[in-house]
Each structure stands twice: as structure tokens, then as C-alpha cells.
Amino acid sequence: MHGTTFFYAAVLLVLWGCGGQDASAPPNQPVGLEELDPSGQEVVFWYQHTRERETALEELIAEYNATNAHGIVVKGEYAGSYGDIYNKMVVGIQGDALPSLVVAYQNQAMAYYRDGGVVDIEPYMSSPKWGFSPEERKDFVEAFIKQDFIGGAQVGFPPNRSLEVFYYNADWLAELGYGEPPRTWDEFAQLCRLAAERPFSRSENKERSLGFLIEADASRLASLVFAHGGDLANADGTAYTLDAPAVRQSLAMLRELLQQGAIELMGEEYGDQREFAAGQVLFMLRSSSGLPFVVSAVEDGSNFSWSVTYPPKEVAEPVVNVYGASVSLCKTTPQQQLAAWLFIKWFTEPAQQARWVRASNYFPVRRSTARELGDYFEKNPRYQAAYALLDYGKSEPSISSYQQVRRMIQEAMVEIVEGGNIDRALADLQQEANRTVYE
């Protein structure tokens, strides 16, 4: 499934490149923003949410439609997965068939912006009439907003964020003689080996016992590399650093553990969640937004005590991969763009954020939202534990070609972990990845 998505994305990207879009086109700056009248505008919002999250989002949209002073009507539309939305946007930019608002990861938003599909949000944020007051602006976690500030433009705005947290089976750890999750990678490796030798007492399939299932995925690697003190790109986002020592150490560690039979490469989508819940895998690296899913999966599975923390580290402070799609303002009419912005602004107000957090389990982007979440923290101690890690967040590269590079990373991970030549594979990866920056 992912393979197909990436194939489509790659083909569409090539075609898009041939489509004659002017990469140097000036961004669409709102003219006379203060004088614009957004009354009666219809805002189409493409999102990826399904089921409970979609229901909650639609409820919020309905409330906005019923209460906003300008008679703006927002129409939420499920547009498929992130990959599907990317495909729709790529062809939509060429066919001038765009929504008003779209969910987009930073690198996707940058690609849309480069090709004139989305506009810079900064003028809306700083507008005296339509933007944030200084107090409101201060209330936002600045690091989240900065994630979408790429190449001198605010290409997206965060409605929520997630962290990639380290899930651990506390009961199994206790059986192995540990009261705490591992704090260093050496300790992690030791525990993975122990887990492979001593299955969890409540596991139904004691023939299969592993420390960790690693998914060949750029975000998983980013978490490991961050916690080894490295990064996937340089500080100014102009080049990848995929042959850096931290990348090498992370992959070498995984390879060694795989050869020892302590961990395995994940072959099935969400296989780590399934096996973690079944008590067959001791640790898992996953998004904090999946917490409710893991709660119910463990209850249905081997029903053990578990929690989340930051990944083991080789540096002084914990480092946690913080990510999450933002929303971008598509290039439509100035009135529609303003109307779409007003919806974003409303959606990120603490009251709405609190409701969205309860429904989605994402993290809010405004600090004051926490004040409205006291009871939620109490009922969801694991969410609170993850929330406490927000200050240690670090983001993946915001380079526009990162979507392509993610695929390359995935392939290199498989090659290296399965025993390929690490030096050659990383050198090739670095070269190929950096080529995409200059293309």
C-alpha cells in the first residue's frame, strides 16, 4: 500500500516537474488584507481523519458554521491518507482544482508553496484585524509554529502535534528484573536480548519473543538518530546528513540486535502494535496519538501494565521526535483565503483545542489549553506522561524533497539492517538524498 502511494507520488512529482510550474513564482500575498470581507465564503477543508476523529472534527466544523459572525461555511472532506492528499494536491495545483484548506506535512506544504498551490500564512497571523494579539501569539508553542516556517514563509499552521514516544511493557520489564525503562541504548540492547530469551509470562505465544520490532521508516530512524545526538539534515535545512555517525550508530545497533535475534524488521503494517499488545514485543516506538488504540489493544490482548517515556539516549537531555501535519492555506481568492484563516484561528483557540485533544489524543499547540485538560490528564496518565516530553521535541527535516528521501531511507534501512555494507549504503543514500535538494 505504501509502495503504491510512493510510486504514485514519484510519478506525479516527475510529471509535475514537467508541467511547467514556475518555481520562482512569487507567493500570493494578500492585498489589502485589512479591508477584505470574508462574509459568506465557503471553505473546503481536505483532511485525512476517519471514524471518531472525523466525527469530532465535523462536530467542531458544524459549531463553527453555526456560530461564526461572518457566515463562513466550512465543508470538511475526507480526502484519503496523507499520500492520497498529496497526490490530489499535486494534480489539483496543475488543474486549478484546490480546496481552501489542506492537511499537509511540512515538506509537502513546502512543495505546494514552491509550485504556487499554497500561500504564506504569516501576513494573516500578524494582521492587526484578523491575526493574533501578542498575548495569543505567546500562548502558542513557538517551536511548533517554526516547524512550518520554511524558506522565509509560513507554509502551514499547526492545529495539533504528536510525539514519537517509547512504549514499554512494565510487567515484562519487572519479570526481567528491571523497575524502569532503559535510559541508554546499551541498556535497551541488553533488555532486547533478555526479552528474546525470556518470553513474557502472559504471552500466549511463547515461541515468539522479541525486544523490539523496527519499522523501516524515516520517522523511526529519526527518533533513533536524535536520541544518538544526531540529525537527518543540517541546521539550516540545505543538505541531508544521512552518513553522519549518529545514523551509522543507530543502524549498526539495529543490525547487531537483528543478527542476535533480539529484534526483527517489521513486515506487517502496525505489526509492532499487534505484537506489543499480544505481549510478544517488549518495546515499541510509535506516535503518542496512538495511545487510545494501544490502550484498547492491550486490554483485548495480554492485558498488562505499560507506559510511555522518551527513547533511550546517548545525550544529556531526552530528545523526542515531534511531528504532525499542519494545515495550509491554498491559493484561492483573497476572501476565501481569509475565511479559511479565520477557521484555523478559531480551531486553535484553547476551548476548541481542548475538545480536539479529547477526541484525537493529539497534543494542543497552545499552552493555555493544558488548563482545560486537568480531568483529561487525570484519566489518561500515559497521555500526561507523553505531554510532559513536549519540551524535548525535535523535528524531522523540512526540506521539500523529504517525501522522496523518506522512501530512500526506508530502502537503505532494510539493506543495512539485513546485513548490507553500511558504509556504501549510507554513502549512496547521502548522495542520492542530496541530489534531490538541488534538483
Binding site: 510510486f7 506525479l12 476517519t50 471514524r51 484519503g80 488543474g95 496519538s289
Partner: protein, 281 residues
């Protein structure tokens, strides 16, 4: 040849081989069926069979993902596409098979060459054409059935399949019909059409399956559930947090049934159509 001779007189070996092949082919389907009746816990623990049959999964899958609407959409879109493909393929295949005109083989070669172009490559031009038609004509193309069906009604593979079959029809039939005063149109619809039952059903089957399984194109040209097919409904069971495998499998069973049913109904004609068109290996 030596292997064939060795197997002659030992049919049990052939049956064992076929049995193993059949079992391997059927295993994913059997697993899908069993998983569709499991609780979520059972899918997590990877048990082979459910302890008790969870019929509720089907009810939940049908209701939660609005399967009724998606199912209806898929049926309508597939039916329109099958009818359109059969009609246009028939009209294109007949002259290529039965009429003499300059450049016929070149045209046919050109049509065959399009088989080598991947669908993904034609996706962007198709989308641009559809958006242009949506704006330039009074009809709604996007978010409606025309965008989902019309671009696929001209199928090179279907034309090829029908043309191969039509070439095998004896010329005596045409001569007799011609003496009786029939033209090409009458010959096509009154004589050729009934003879083409098997390849037409084969083309219909392929078109139906293609339409039923399509996901990327429907997602591209639709933004609301009004015309979205069942493949989009199945996607609803996978969220960022994880997959509800038991519901996904129940949904997949519902989505697979029409295809299976169609195949069982026209199995004989399907095999006949394939073998008569020269595609048999």
C-alpha cells in the same frame, strides 16, 4: 515433455499438486474469512479460528463506514463502465477485425502500444481533461459518475480481446449475410454479437473487477462520499493510530463478494473467452 510423460498414469500426483496450489491460493481468502469473524483480541493474538463467530463485525463494518452507499456507488459505476466499455470496444474491434481499410494494422498497433503506458502516467492528463470538461461543459464531471467511468470506456485490452475473437469467425457468415442484404452494422449486432458472448463476458468481467478495485482515481476525482466506491470505504478502517483488522476483513469480505459471485456465474464463459482470444498460455 518428460515430466508430462512421467505424470501420465499417476493422476494422484497431479491432484496432490493441484490441491497444494489450490490451498496456497485459497489461504489468504480463508484467513480473511476467519479474521472477519474474530474479536479484535483474537486478531491481535493471531489465533487461527475465532472462538465464537462475531457476526456483529459485518454489521459494524457496514454501518460505520457507510458501506451501503459505497456499495451502491461501486455497483452503479461498475455497471456504467462495463456497458460503456463493451459498447466502445465492440465498435472499435469490429472494423479492426473484419474490415479492410488503409492503415488498419497501424491503428491496431497504436492501440496495442497504449497497453505499455502505465495507468499512473495517464492519470495527470486524464485529470486535467476532466477538470477542463467540468468547467467547459454544463455537466458535472468531477464528484460524479462521468469522471469515474468515461475515461476508462476506451480499453485497448478489451479491443484486442474482441478483435482476436472476431478474426476467428468464418468469413462465410459475413458473405451469406451480405448476400441477404446486411451491412456491417447489422452483421455486427445481429450475427457477430451473439457469437461474441464468451469474450464479451470476459471483457465485462475484467472491466468490472478493474472498476470495483480502483482507489487512486476515485479519490482523485471525488471529494464527497456521493459517488465514492467501496474501496474508499475500506480505507476508513485504517487510521493513523492503527488498523481494526477484524472490521477491515469484514469490510473486505463484503467488498469481495460481488466479484466472486460474478466470477462463479460466468466462470465457463470467462475461460472460453480467454482461450478463444489466443491469450491462453
Amino acid at each position: 515433455m518428460a515430466t508430462r510423460n512421467a505424470l501420465r498414469g499417476r493422476p494422484h500426483l497431479v491432484y496432490v499438486g493441484l490441491g497444494v496450489g489450490g490451498f496456497v491460493a485459497a489461504l489468504p481468502f480463508v484467513w480473511m474469512l476467519l479474521a472477519s469473524f474474530m474479536t479484535r483480541g483474537e486478531t491481535l493474538r493471531r489465533v487461527f479460528a475465532p472462538e465464537s463467530v462475531q457476526w456483529a463485525n459485518y454489521h459494524q463494518a457496514w454501518n460505520e463506514a457507510d458501506f451501503g452507499l459505497y456499495f451502491e456507488n461501486s455497483l452503479l459505476v461498475a455497471a456504467l463502465q462495463v456497458v460503456g466499455t463493451l459498447f466502445f470496444s465492440l465498435l472499435a474491434a469490429y472494423p479492426l477485425a473484419r474490415m479492410e481499410f488503409r492503415g488498419r494494422d497501424t491503428v491496431f498497433a497504436g492501440i496495442l502500444a497504449t497497453l505499455m503506458i502505465p495507468e499512473t502516467v495517464t492519470m495527470v492528463p486524464n485529470f486535467l481533461t476532466i477538470t477542463w470538461l467540468h468547467r467547459a461543459t454544463p455537466f458535472a464531471w468531477l464528484n460524479s459518475w462521468p469522471a469515474l467511468t468515461i475515461p476508462f470506456m476506451a480499453s485497448a485490452f478489451s479491443i484486442f480481446l474482441l478483435r482476436q475473437f472476431m478474426r476467428g469467425v468464418p468469413n462465410d457468415l459475413w458473405e451469406a449475410a451480405h448476400i441477404d442484404g446486411a451491412g456491417h452494422v447489422r452483421f455486427l449486432f445481429q450475427i457477430m454479437l451473439p457469437l461474441c458472448r464468451a469474450p464479451l463476458l470476459t471483457v465485462g468481467m475484467f472491466t468490472f473487477i478493474g472498476s470495483w478495485n480502483s482507489l487512486a482515481w476515485p479519490l482523485l476525482v471525488t471529494n464527497t462520499p456521493d459517488w465514492r466506491p467501496i474501496s474508499v470505504g475500506l480505507q476508513q478502517f485504517v487510521s493513523e493510530a492503527g488498523a481494526e483488522v477484524h472490521l477491515q476483513m469484514a469490510g473486505a469480505m463484503i467488498a469481495t463478494l460481488p466479484v466472486l459471485l460474478t466470477y462463479f456465474l460466468i466462470q465457463k464463459e470467462f475461460t472460453e473467452g480467454i482461450s478463444m482470444s489466443g491469450l491462453k498460455g
